[in-house]
Symmetry: C2
Subunit: 80 residues, 2 copies
């Protein structure tokens, strides 16, 4: 699957767009993000997976937490 394809798929869901909006303000752990949503962590984890396949976000383990952050370079690529 083409990356642009993955990006469009990722952006199609409102929850995923909201995750991106939150990360726009700075990196957040999965738990911190979950606090902003009425859906389960498991469902969110699925969304992180989709966003990662599109390479829109990156994850990094920090102790017990996993911290997500925006991969800004992709946005520039896709805009063109």
């Amino acid at each position: 699957m083409l990356r642009s394809e993955q990006v469009f798929r990722a952006l199609a869901d409102p929850n995923r767009r909201r995750i991106l909006a939150i990360l726009k303000a700075g990196s957040r752990s999965a738990g911190e993000i979950a606090g902003e949503f009425p859906i389960s962590m498991a469902s969110l984890s699925h969304h992180y997976g989709v966003l990662k396949s599109a390479d829109l976000i990156r994850s990094e383990r920090r102790g017990q937490s996993i911290v997500y952050s925006l991969n800004t370079t992709v946005f520039e690529d896709v805009a063109s």
Copy 2:
């Protein structure tokens, strides 16, 4: 439903993005567009509907044909 919501939904499908790409080159009738796709006119008609709800395209009857064209202003709006 918000218009931005509709736009994201519309762009999520590859066939719809391809319709937009074709119209980028200029207006086309439903029949002309159909010639470029392996799916039925009925299915395409459904896609036109989605693209119209998002206000990404406009339609105009010309005799027996219905001619579709890009609504370029929306692209500028959503880019911001």
